[in-house]
Every structure is written in C-alpha cells, then in structure tokens.
C-alpha cells in the first residue's frame, strides 16, 4: 500500500526518474551546464566577489570598497571616460546615418543587389587586426602616406592622423566604421526587405509619391531595428579596445585611452598590471552604467517602436 502511494506522488524516485529519460536528459544538458557553469556563471559571480578583494592569485583579502575608491581616484579615469564617450559619439555620427542611407538606396536596386551586399560586407570579414595594421599604414603622416597622397590630389592636407591628439580619435573611428558598417547595412537591408508589399500597394492607391512611400512606409517599419542597433552600437563602442590598443596604445598624450584599455592596463599592463581587483571594479562600474543607460533608453523609447 505504502509503495503505491509513493509511486503516485509527483516526486519520483531516482530509479523511475532515470527510467523516464531523466538521465539521458542530463547527459544532453551536460555540455551546456559545464561550459556555462565554469566559463560564464562562475566568472560572473567571481567578478562581483573580486571587486571587493585584493587578489594576487594565491591569497585574496577583503578590502571593502577600496578597489572602487582607487579606480575613482585614478587621474586617468576621467580622461578614459571622456575619450570613450567621444569615440561612441563619433562612431554614431560616422556609422549610424551612412549605412541607413546606403541600405535604403540598396533596397531599391533591382538587378545584382547581391553584389552590392557583398561589397558592403567585405570589410566585415577582414580580420580586425589586419584591418588595423593596414590602416595604420594608410595613416602614414608623411606626404607620401596613402591617405595624405589621395587628399593631396584635391589639395588638402597632409594630416598627422594618429600622431596628433585631435586627429587620433577620429582616425580610429573612421577605421572602426569601415570595419563594422557593412554588418549594419545588412541588418537594415534584412528589415527593409521584410516590409509587407501590401503597405506599398496601399500607399500607391492613396497616391503616395516615391519619397512619401520611403518616408511614411519604409522608415516607420525600420524604427524598431533602428532603435535596437542604436543602443547595441553604444554598448559595443563603450567597450572599444582593439583600435586604441593597436593603433596608438592610448597615445598621443593619452588622447585615445579608453575605459577598456584602462581595465586591460590595471590587470595585464607591463608596469601597472596584476591589480585584478581594480580591473574588475572598473568593469563592473562600466557594466552597471551600461545597464542603467539601456534601461533608461528602453523606458524612454518604449512608445516609439511600431513593432
């Protein structure tokens, strides 16, 4: 009698659990559980713990908010935050409107649209390190440099590019835009081709001109995608590392030191290095800032999306 009651209970014994396929389910879940557990969930938890610790791999000591205080006292922090914001702003100016106009124009192409997409996307598949090293050569400040020579044909320049505090950051952004814009174009293009044909038909019946159709049918349909790519680009550019690290190493005169470069220097830099507590503290601060920014952004734009 007792066993019968036991068997009808929702909680099953391990044997029935295994027989019902619980074991094989666990086997299938194992790769995900192990990989995410060790390389995602554990480090995320560790990041929070570490930011309150002084760590030197062997022993860890609780130091309260000292890491955060040390980061905030770093005279370079303000510079790094300002530089990162400047990079993000320039990246928006360079990289937000141009792909949009390009994608809208591309969506009206009737023959060989694939060729346009391939050309636009080609820079995205070039390894970023190759792109940076190649552009570093293009940015040669001598009058014989590739860009200076081209600009010389129209009588402009020569420019110092990476060697100059004012010019360095826009130069970085220009390369980063070249490397990334193709991806944005393809995202817009995917959204553009998903505009239902009936909407255009209806607009035509109502006598809309071509511009009317683009402005009142195409653009509103893109709004959702535009809103998302905007914040994703901000989140991406706030973590820019490769360009400042490889192009300038943060120079000249700290004009291109970004937050991520600072984090890298705290943790792995030659002279600084090894201060994992400070590095994670700054990472967490950046992450919280980005989270707050995204939340505020989505609250603000909640009503704007049509989809």
């Amino acid at each position: 009698m007792a066993t019968l009651v036991h068997a009808t209970r929702p909680r099953r014994s391990p044997v029935t659990w295994a027989r019902r396929g619980g074991l094989s389910t666990l086997v299938f879940a194992l790769p995900l559980l192990v990989v995410f557990g060790v390389f995602s969930w554990l480090p995320i938890g560790r990041a929070i713990v570490m930011s309150f610790q002084e760590t030197n791999l062997v022993v860890s000591e609780w130091v309260g908010l000292d890491n955060f205080r040390a980061v905030l006292d770093d005279p370079l922090l303000g510079r790094a935050v300002a530089n990162t914001a400047w990079f993000a702003l320039l990246a928006l100016i360079f990289g937000y409107p141009v792909p949009l106009v390009g994608a809208v124009l591309m969506s009206t192409v009737r023959r060989m649209r694939g060729l346009y997409s391939v050309l636009a996307y080609l820079p995205v598949v070039v390894p970023p390190v190759v792109a940076v090293l190649l552009w570093k050569f293009f940015y040669d400040p001598r009058p014989e440099g590739v860009f200076n020579q081209i600009l010389g044909w129209v009588g402009v320049g020569p420019f110092p590019w990476l060697q100059n505090q004012t010019w360095a950051m826009p130069s970085l952004v220009l390369e980063a835009t070249w490397a990334a814009a193709g991806g944005t174009v393809i995202i817009y293009l995917a959204a553009l081709t998903s505009v239902p044909a009936e909407l255009y038909d209806a607009a035509e019946v109502d006598g809309a001109s071509l511009w009317g159709k683009i402005w009142h049918v195409t653009m509103p349909h893109l709004r959702g995608v535009l809103l998302i790519t905007f914040i994703l680009q901000i989140i991406g550019t706030a973590q820019v590392f490769l360009e400042p690290y490889l192009f300038t190493g943060g120079g000249p005169n700290n004009a291109t030191v970004t937050v991520l470069l600072l984090i890298y220097r705290y943790a792995f830099g030659q002279s600084l290095g090894g201060d994992y507590g400070m590095a994670t503290a700054l990472s967490l601060m950046l992450a919280v800032l980005l989270a707050v920014l995204s939340l505020a952004y989505f609250r603000l734009t909640r009503g704007w999306s049509t989809s």
Binding site: A29, P31, L32, V35, F36, V38, F39, S40, L42, I44, A47, M50, L105, M106, S107, T108, V109, G114, Y116, S117, V118, Y121, L122, P123, V125, V126, V129, V130, L133, L134, W135, F137, D140, E144, G182, G183, I186, I187, L189, A190, A191, T193, S194, A197, E204, K213, T218, V225, L232, Q239, Y245, I263, A267, F268, A279, T280, A287, S294, R302, S307
Partner: protein, 330 residues
C-alpha cells in the same frame, strides 16, 4: 514593447528573417534554382509604375551607379591595395604606395612571410583555434537547444533563464575573472597556453543556444512524437531526426563560430602568451615592429585570404546570418 525584449533575444532585431524549418536558409554551396523566387524580386518601395517614370528612373540609375562605385572603393579598394603591397618591393610601398608596380613585382615578400616569419605556423594555429571553437560551440548549442526545446525537463525554464541572463552581461565583466578561471580552473591544471583555454569559453555563447533552441521550437512536434512511438530514444531522436533537420541553423552557428574565432584578438592574446601557439591575429601586431613593410603586407594578405574566400563561397549564408544576428556584438 516590453523592456526586456530587445536584449533577451537579439534575434528579435530581425524576426522575419529568422530561419525556421519551413523556410530554411540557403545551404552552403547550393544556389537556389532559377525557378525559385529570389530576394531581388521582392517588392521594394519603388513600384513598376515609378520605374517607368523617366525622372525617377534616371535619379535611381545615377544613385545606384554612384553607390556601386562608392561600394567598390569602400569594400575592394583597401583589399586591392593590400594585395598589391604584398607583391611590391618595400621601397616602392614606402615611397609611392599608390603607383602600380613602378619597379615591377616581387614574390619574395610572400615567400619570406610564409617561411621566415613562420606565418605558416600561425596560420595552422588559427585554423586549429577556429576548428576547436567551432566544435565546442556547435556541441553546446545543439545539445543545449535540444534539452531546452525538445526534451524539456522540469528544470528547462530556470536553465533557459540562466542562459538568457548571460546575454545581459557585457563581455568586459568576464575578462579578468575568466582569465583567472583559466589560470586556475575548479578542476584540473591551468589552461594557460593550451587551446582549451580558447575553445571551451567559446562554447558559452548564449546567443547560439537561443538561436538553436528557437529553431528547434519551429520543428514539427508530430515528427518527434512519431519517432518516439516507433521506439526512438532521446539519443536516436537527436542524431537521426533533429540534427539532420537543423542543418540550416547549424550552418549559421558554424559561420559565426569560425569567423569569430578567426577575428578574436584580446582573448587569445591573454590565454596564449606562448608565441608558438598564437594565432595570426595575436602574432601579427608583435611582428609588425621588426618586419620589413613588404613582408608584413604579405603576411597581412595571407591572413585575409581565407576569411574572404570563405565569405565569397558562402555569401548567402553569411548575409542571412548577419541579417538576423549581426547586431550581437556587445
């Protein structure tokens, strides 16, 4: 629109293009037949009537021509220059970078880069890194997606949330603690200077798992039920039914995985300090200072060839993939 939607599932950025079982993405290498509807024939903002108006047509034609020209300069220009530099003597590269072979070509650059700079070795390392990262991502995404979408144990929901939650965490947070995990893993020896340190963390991609799980969700349940009735166990169901049906989405995941591994810089830089193990992306910057410009350009060109060729071969797969998930970078 809810607050969480855009970040929980990046795929929401372009839902209409999400590959489903009923509308699979183009398979690599197989071009669609001439009779099948092509994307180019979908209707855009410009109607046939618009096209017939000479003013509109002329404006668009000119616009398209200018756009094509700009795209050629933008997409092909720098790469053509790179190819040219790879076979140009260093003196010419430095003095007259824009002239076309004023003193002829030289193949010595390529030879020296491949053999003396040992680009061949770093090239192999890169392939090795990419293959392992690909395997680990496909394995985790396919089995994980199978559990979350098809097997659906009771704990599937919390597991799914735990995976989704990692999408909210920016990569920068993981950098240092993940590095320390590699140095001193919970079990086993340090993974520093082993490819495992690059391969295994690559598998922890929530984006892949979500993408594959959503694809599995769109597969017809009746097929699974029929297979179960016919006596197929979970392993048989996975191997003979689910996997063969999910080639399109695994293709997308594979393309992302290989390209991401080929592009990655910071992580292999940290995990593989031993130059003998480093992939091209990590090795090239250290080579640049001490290398002749012509040889460096040859090395850069060699590093670019494979990704570009792979892209040109599987362009449809790439562009579909980029359209639905390219937004996921942070």
């Amino acid at each position: 629109m809810t607050l969480v939607r855009p970040t929980t599932s990046p795929t929401a950025a372009a839902p209409p293009d999400l590959p489903t079982a009923s509308a699979p993405v183009a398979r690599p290498g197989i071009r669609r037949g001439a009779g099948a509807p092509r994307d180019d024939e979908e209707r855009g903002a410009v109607s046939d009537a618009d096209w017939r108006r000479p003013g509109v047509r002329r404006t668009l034609r000119v616009g398209h021509a200018v756009l094509l020209l700009l795209l050629v300069v933008w997409g092909v220009g720098p790469l053509l220059l790179l190819l040219k530099f790879a076979v140009t003597p260093t003196q010419d590269i430095l003095r007259t970078p824009l002239e076309v072979f004023p003193n002829g070509t030289t193949w010595a650059n390529l030879d020296e880069a491949w053999n003396e700079l040992e680009i061949s070795r770093y090239f192999l390392n890169t392939i090795w890194v990419a293959v392992g990262a690909w395997l680990s991502q496909v394995l985790v995404a396919a089995t994980g997606g199978y559990v979350l979408s098809v097997l659906r144990p009771r704990w599937a929901k919390p597991l799914q949330w735990a995976v989704l939650a990692t999408l909210f965490v920016p990569a920068v947070v993981l950098l240092v603690p993940l590095y320390l995990t590699i140095l001193d893993p919970p079990v086993g020896p340090s993974m520093l200077n082993t490819f495992w340190g690059v391969w295994l963390p690559a598998g922890a991609s929530a984006f892949n798992v979500v993408l594959v799980a959503r694809f599995f969700d769109s597969l017809p349940r009746e097929v699974f039920e029929a297979a179960r009735v016919d006596g197929a166990g979970p392993f048989r169901l996975f191997w003979s039914i689910v996997l063969p049906m999910s080639k399109p989405i695994l293709g997308v995941v594979s393309v992302f995985a290989v390209i991401a591994a080929w592009k990655d810089f910071l992580w292999p830089l940290l995990v593989l300090p031993n130059p003998d193990l480093q992939p091209l992306s990590v090795r090239l910057p250290t080579l640049q200072t001490a290398t002749d410009m012509g040889v460096l350009m040859a090395a850069l060109a060699i590093s670019t060839v494979i990704p570009v060729v792979v892209f040109l071969l599987f362009q449809r797969l790439f562009l579909r993939g980029a359209g639905l998930g390219g937004a996921v970078k942070g």
